[in-house]
Structures are given as C-alpha cells and as structure tokens.
Symmetry: D2
Subunit: 139 residues, 4 copies
C-alpha cells in the first residue's frame, strides 16, 4: 500500500473558512479527505479524456420491457460487447419499467461505443454512461 | 399503454442533414427515436430540479476494501437509508479495488443526501450519483 | 484583504504524484494554487444551488441576425431584465452569424429565467448560461 | 439561406404532453423551435469532441486586480494567443473583483489550451470555458 505523506496548502483565511463549512456540510471527517476527493475527481475526468485509457464505469438504462423485441435486442448488443461487461443488475421498478445497470471495464472508446449502442435501442427511455475509474490510478 | 401520435417539425434542410448524420452515428433506427431521446433527456433533467420529485438513480462507488472500518461504515450508512436502496451490486476490480453500484429510488433530496454521505466516507476513492427516472413520466 | 494561512493535507504518495503531474499539465505555478481552484470551483457550484444567492455569470448567444424580428425581440427581452445585465459584447462571426455575450449579476433564479427567455427566442441557434461568482465569497 | 423542410415525429401521447408543458415553461413559441434547439445543442457537443474542429466560445474569468503581477500575466498569456481572441469585455464587479469575458474562435484544442493557461494564473478566482459554435454548422 502507498505511503502517507503530507503537504501544506497556503490559502486566505476567508476561503479556508468557506471550505471548512463545505467539509462539514458534505459530511467529510476532515479537510484532507475532502481535498483528496477533489483531486481524484479531477484525475478521473482526465482519464476519460484519453480514449485509450482503461477505465471502469456503469451504463444505466430505463426501459419498458413490453416493447416488442427490446429485451432481445439489448441482449444481442450486450453479447457483442460481452468482454466489457463485468456484471448486470436488473430491477423491476413497476409493472412496465425496468432499471438495468451494467458495470463495465475497458478502454474509454469501447465503453462509449457500447453505451451509445445500448442507449439508442428503441424502447430505452433513458440511458446514461457514468464514468469512474478502475481505482488503480487513484492512490 | 399510451397511444402513438405524430407531429411535424419544420427545420432548415442544412440542419436536418446534420441531424440525420448524427442519427446514424449514434445508431438510432430513425429520427423519431432520436428526437424522443432528446426530449426524455431534458425531462429527466427537469425532474431532478424538483427536490420533492420521486426519481430513480444509481450511486457508484470505487473503494479500497483494505481501508480499516470502511466496509462497516458503508454498511451503516446504507442501513440508515435502506428504504431508498433497491439493490446493490458489488464487484472486485482487482485485489484492492471494489466497484459498488446501488440502485436507488426516492425523493431527489433524499437520494442526493444519501449519495453525499456515501461518497464522503474515508477510503471511497471515487463516487458518482447518476440521475435517471422511474420511467413513469417518460411516456 | 484576507490573511494568508496554511494547512496540511495528508495523502498517499501515489496520489500526490499524479496530482503533481496534473498541476504541471494544467500550468499551475504550485500545488496551493491548484488546490484553491478546486475548492473555489466547488464553492461556485454550491452558490448556484441556492436560488436566492447573488451571483455573476454570462449568457452566450449565437444567432443569425437575418431572422426577421429577432434583434428586436432580443432587445425587448433584455430591456425586461435590464437590471441584471451589466454589459453586452457583440461580435460578427461572419456575414450571417452573431456572437453576443451578456455579463449578468443578480439572484440565481432571476438569471436562470433571463437566460431561458433569451435562449428560447426563435433564431437563436445556440445559447448557454455560464455560472461564475461575484468573487466576494471566493476569498 | 437554407430551405425550410418538414419531417414527422411519432411519439406516445403521454410523452408529447410532457414535452408540450416544457415548451411552454421554457418560453418557446412552438414545438419546432424547441426541437431545433435540442438538435443544435447535441451538434455543438459533438463539435467540441473533435479537437480539430473550428468553434467559438467564451472564457470567463473572475479575479482580484490587486494581486500583484496578475493583470500583466493575463495580458501576456492573451498576447500569446491573440489570434484566438476576438474581443474582450471587462467589468468591475466591486472595488476588488473583476469579471473578464473573452470571446474566442479557433480549433477546439487551441481554445482549451488557452483557457487552461488563463484559468491557472495565480489570482484568478474562478474561470470557465463556455462552448458554443461558429453557427455555420447549425443550419
């Protein structure tokens, strides 16, 4: 595991005051934890700007399972990119609507293409690609 | 199920041309499907501006399960908002890093608060709240 | 002017390494400057979540000045919210397209409403509200 | 000028209903205008994913003009990318804080680099790059 080090930040007392209020409001136990989160958020954004970077993420889909052929088509697209999909979670929100979440890992461009294909399937009401990281570059 | 109706859109031919290219590029089977997605995206955004609206979403967390007390604290927070959490999916990305996805349903403000609490736990390397809809208002 | 203080951040050396690379890549002269920017970005986002907060911002519009009645309508909307508009900059991008930028200051909800009204005018090809701050709460 | 054409969109009546409410709420004069805006927003986002695309935009900066050397450094950076900057608007928000808006046009990657350089200058409290289009590809 990585070694813990320490560095100093110089800041105006007014800004520090506001930061401290935010730390409490967001439920952080201390400033360092909040700072580390700000840093890691920025690193994750940079990772996703590099198409050839390996990343993790989730694809969230809301769909009406009554739409004819929809489940079959979603399955086919998923098989076409099965090497990216780590696992799938499926929930019945009501008698019509399903929430499906795919956990994915792969290159940025592969994941973006897979998300595109799934979201554009007819009957998918809403789709989102959520970017995160494999965690390996986040200390 | 809702009835299918039809309405006309007037548009410059140059803009229509660019739209048609985007429809193909994104993998939509036709213009109507692409338009419906644009509309639904905007409706989901509006839903999330209303704190008292019932919505669905996912909370994605990357964490190092070796951090002492982390799993216990995540469990405690989750129990504190158990009525919002529909299901949880947990994945071992490597020997250190876990990807956990919580499917959630509830009022916007409840979900935002739960996400905040989970993301700010020490040892959580990256966290994201993904907004979607219960599907009920998306036709 | 506010006093300069200093606080320490504890962090894994691996994460610090990646942060240092980002500091260089983004052109910051030192870590403190980068950290202060991360903090201020988050504070600005929080300011804009409060409808009653006074903020500053810009409204950017791209439009075709040949569209009949457009300039007149934009002027009318602007007069309706003249107390929010600090100044306007207008540029001729080519023989058709104009770029207009309005610097605005006021309550979040007033500015959002003004932006909405301007962006929805027929002939406005693209519009954006950019959020920033009056600077008073950013140390 | 481009010719006006018309195409039909098939949609569930429930979704159309919600869309119509949004059209009114956002102040659009009719459905076509709202649809065209949704299309153009997406096209602008696609433009900005291509580093070699010519685009327009604005860079918004909030800074304290009392910080020593700041104005000089901002000027120097601006001269280094003078071919991208169409015009600049400067406002005195109060006795300390300035709002400066730069209207820019150039390749995506040039504009992103210029924004980065300006935002990272010490004393700049908040900076934003706002993406829009030259209008040429928006019908």
């Amino acid at each position: 595991m990585a070694d813990l080090v320490r560095f100093g930040v110089s800041i105006n007392d007014g800004l520090l005051n506001k930061f401290d209020k935010m730390v409490v409001q967001k439920g952080y136990s201390n400033r360092s934890e909040a700072i580390r989160d700000l840093i890691r958020n920025q690193l994750v954004e940079l990772e996703w700007q590099n198409e050839e970077q390996e990343v993790a993420g989730t694809i969230t889909l809301i769909y009406d399972h009554h739409v004819r052929g929809l489940s079959k088509q979603l399955l086919e697209v998923q098989h076409g990119c099965h090497d990216l999909i780590l696992s799938t979670m499926h929930l019945h929100l009501d008698h019509l609507n399903c929430l499906e979440v795919l956990a994915v890992k792969g290159l940025v461009k592969q994941i973006q293409e897979a998300a595109q294909q799934l979201i554009s399937v007819r009957g998918v009401k809403h789709g989102r690609l959520t970017i995160t990281s494999t965690g390996r570059n986040l200390g």
